[in-house]
Symmetry: C2
Subunit: 210 residues, 2 copies
């Protein structure tokens, strides 16, 4: 991230507090819930001023999206890096290697368990459900969430599975929707037993032997 070759521009450099802000965001969301995790509280938890937050992120939603990107990191598929995806540049649906049923199933299973694990981390699930909720009635945030958060993973999945976009989107709806609905209705992440059931159901549908 630190530009080694480019010369630094004049003026006071930005304090390296992004990671502190992300950590403060998750901590605050975990402590007081998404709605009460105001930008002012998050800034206070990070030890900076509220205006500094708004100098770096245009809206609260953008902050949460970046925080989630940082918390999730790249998908464990070895394909695309979510941080550097170009967005609408998709085109290479041909993934070279055709996977067998068992391999596809294993890939899907590891992906589900990966997402379930992240959502179960303190603050992450709440933040995820929170932005998603806000996005429902905020088209700009919805666009941001779809392009910056969902698309990279969707693209990586498409390439890894060799499935068309529509089908991968349905897969994401199924897995993420189920996990978020459970979290939203109960306030608790899904139990291991039910994650097992989700894995079984999705595997049977997306990686059936025939």
């Amino acid at each position: 991230m630190t530009p080694t070759t480019a010369r630094r521009s004049p003026g006071r450099p930005r304090a390296g507090v992004n990671q502190a802000v992300y950590a403060a965001t998750l901590r605050t969301v975990h402590d007081v819930g998404y709605a009460r995790a105001t930008v002012e509280r998050i800034a206070a938890a990070a030890g900076i001023a509220k205006t500094t937050v708004y100098r770096r992120w245009p809206t609260k939603g953008a902050l949460i999206v970046d925080c989630l990107l940082d918390a999730f990191g790249p998908a464990p598929l070895g394909a695309t890096d979510p941080g550097t995806a170009t967005g609408t540049a998709g085109g290479n649906t041909e993934s070279g290697t055709d996977l067998g049923s068992a391999e596809r199933g294993a890939l899907i299973e590891s992906g589900i368990r990966w997402i379930a694990g992240r959502i179960g981390q303190p603050g992450v699930g709440d933040a995820f459900a929170g932005v998603f909720s806000d996005a429902v009635s905020d088209p700009a945030l919805r666009e941001l969430l779809a392009s910056r958060f969902q698309d990279p993973y969707r693209q990586a999945l498409q390439e890894a599975l060799g499935e068309p976009e529509q089908r991968v989107l349905f897969l994401i709806d199924t897995v993420v929707g189920t996990l978020l609905h459970r979290l939203g209705m109960t306030g608790e992440p899904m139990s291991d037993t039910d994650v097992d059931a989700l894995v079984a159901m999705v595997r049977r549908f997306f990686a059936a032997p025939e």
Copy 2:
């Protein structure tokens, strides 16, 4: 609803505007989105004062929940009426008739198509996603939504399918979560093709021949 036998209590009777308020709520949500569908706007659309709304519903969330109950109505299973459920009185898991695999599948399929159809109605899906979103960081609203909205349908499903509570809750997470995630991410209800896929996936898991 109109008390025919009981004597009317003294004082000015309440104006029969509940249905008008529900209609105004869905219309307003559909027109301007959930977040901008303020109580003031809804009241104006219904032709009444904001204070009158708050005299009947303690919070905006309670209004939306009642509006959704009115829009969904009883489940098409012929079991429990969602309006008169007692809540934590459950106990009779024995449903008398044991359904075969095909019957269970048909029941699940009709249920999924029923929910998908309701969520597709203008305003209903947005209102549903909206309260759900608010409920994520509002425990009181979450409790209200779970007890008054989800529980009756859950109970009816338990009795109709003869399945344990945990499994029915997982079924609901799957179906409702998927539909809401699609609506939230795209702003549009799920296409018929994808609803077909959802039906196939859930049927295969919950009503497999063996």
